[in-house]
């Protein structure tokens, strides 16, 4: 557990970076600090591992005032990942990852063996270990950064905008990986970002900071989107927060119905409704518009591309999007394996949302 008690930080030039912060990060959770640039997120994070010390107030890690602990010793028990990865350019990837075990007194051999395990854990090839950081892509460098931070198995992991410099597709992959790692390892993670989407995606709790280092709201993501504490938070979480809040609505109430389907390779007979075309593996391939006729069997070039697919059981946001993006107005539902499961209507999703709201009161 990490606790900030009335913590303030004023720099020598008079800048107040953090103003009277009270906040508890529960052990084993991912907590995100989010807010516009310059609002004191990095400063708050760095007071946990004593890269900075508070001007007033107390930071406790596992009930212990961090000021009582020798900083290098404290830091070896707290993993730290930064935006540029900060890998040591003159050391191989393997030796980068072995850094903290070596500092903690492990033998070179044990440290390297551990480093190899961690490269595997973050999804990197063993061969990568022999490379130097310049020989890796940005996304790979970040993975190495995460592996290095985890090498000595610290109970706490601090991450300062770790994925901000990689492109959006890679970023999403890294976020998923982090969630998987977290589920597997159960670390206490404090994650800093300026991106509210990233914050609600990975945070179990999210602390929104505003200029001047003031904590504006500290809540679960669903609450943040549904009930922003003030105008600042409302505008920071964005205009489409209602839509994004659907990520947190329970999808159990959505009833999946059978739809009208056809198959690739079957004869085409004109129909009054849209037909969903499946392939031999029961996977949706696209929609056949009403009234389409053709002499031969059904081929892909007669189809209109489908919208997004909704995987059964995942967040309601995807269900609504599948309906909205579908040419037929029917959202296509698939099993986790990718096989066709049925269809849904946008109105059904809205009903589920209304019911949930009524239950919450």
């Amino acid at each position: 557990m990490i606790e900030f008690r009335a913590v303030s930080k004023r720099f020598d030039d008079g800048t107040v970076a953090v103003d009277d912060l009270d906040l508890v990060v529960e052990a084993g959770t991912i907590t995100v600090f989010v807010g516009p640039s310059g609002c004191g997120k990095t400063t708050s994070l760095r007071m946990i591992n004593r890269m900075l010390d508070p001007t007033s107030g107390t930071v406790l890690v596992d009930g212990r005032d961090v000021l009582q602990v020798d900083p290098p010793r404290l830091r070896r028990g707290i993993g730290y990942v930064i935006q540029q990865a900060g890998l040591f350019p003159h050391r191989t990837v393997l030796d980068n990852v072995a850094t903290v075990p070596l500092l903690s007194g492990w033998s070179k051999r044990d440290a390297r063996a551990r480093a190899a395990e961690l490269l595997e854990l973050v999804g990197l090839d063993g061969d990568m270990g022999r490379r130097y950081p310049v020989q890796l892509s940005g996304g790979q460098q970040q993975r190495v950064g995460v592996a290095r931070a985890l090498a000595a198995d610290p109970p706490v992991l601090l991450m300062d905008e770790p994925f901000s410099a990689v492109d959006p597709v890679v970023r999403e992959g890294l976020q998923d990986e982090l969630l998987r790692l977290h589920a597997e390892l159960g670390k206490t993670v404090v994650f800093v970002t300026h991106d509210i989407d990233e914050a609600v995606r990975i945070g179990e709790k999210v602390a929104v900071f505003r200029q001047g280092g003031v904590l504006a709201q500290y809540d679960r993501p669903a609450e943040l989107l549904a009930r922003p504490a003030d105008d600042f938070v409302a505008s920071f979480v964005g205009k489409d927060r209602g839509y994004r809040g659907l990520s947190f609505v329970d999808p159990a109430g959505i009833e999946v119905r059978g739809g009208a389907t056809t198959r690739l390779g079957e004869p085409v007979s004109p129909s009054r409704e849209w037909l969903l075309a499946l392939d031999a593996d029961e996977r949706p391939r696209g929609w056949l518009p009403p009234g389409t006729s053709a002499d031969g069997p059904l081929t892909e070039d007669l189809l209109v591309p489908g919208g997004s697919l909704y995987e059964r059981g995942t967040a309601v946001r995807g269900a609504l999007d599948s309906a909205l993006s579908s040419p037929s107005g029917l959202g296509v539902v698939v099993e986790p394996t990718g096989r066709y499961a049925g269809v849904l209507r946008g109105a059904q999703v809205l009903d589920v949302i209304d019911r949930e709201r009524a239950e919450r009161g």
Binding site: I82, S104, S137
Partner: protein, 223 residues
Amino acid sequence: MFADLGKYLGNAGTRAQIADHLVEHVYLSLLPIVFAVLLAVPLGWACHRYRPLRGALIGVANVVYTVPSLALFVIIPAVAGTQILWPGNVIIALTVYTTALLIRPVAEALDAVPDHVVAAATAMGYRPLPRFLTVELPLAVPVLAAGVRVGSVSNISLVSVGAIIGSGGLGVLFTDGFSRRYLAPILVGIVLTLALALVVDLLLVALRRALTPWTRAQGVSVA
């Protein structure tokens, strides 16, 4: 002329003397490099760390560098209180020169180590001295090595000047040749000085390559 050279080198005693001068030349020119690196690293670090000190130290270094070598050889005994003909004077003088030459590049190389790399090292739990020795200094080696190469070549040529104040080294062959109006020792001195400079430079390049394998990894198969 070749006959002269043959006659000069034909004498075993002369050859032994030349070998002695060569050995002397090596340590008179290279010991200062070692001392200068040992001095320039902490001084360069101080310039990198404490901005106000930087102007002062680099200013002094620049002034020192403009003092003619012969003058320095003569000033050192006066300042250090050593015997004027003691060979150590040359070592001290060249150490001062080489240190002056290396301070600025060392400071700049340390400046060039990215802040986020240093911050990451701190966050990993390095104490300041190990962090400096194993992270910051190794990253400054390419720049330091370039300075050392310049310094070693310049020292090898400056040691010859020291012969005028009797410090030994291959310069003795020049003073000897001039005083006897005899070309052979001068030729031998020139050839050996050049050869020494070349060999030392090649060794330094090899050393730098051995210390900085990562600088050659650039751009290999970015996947």
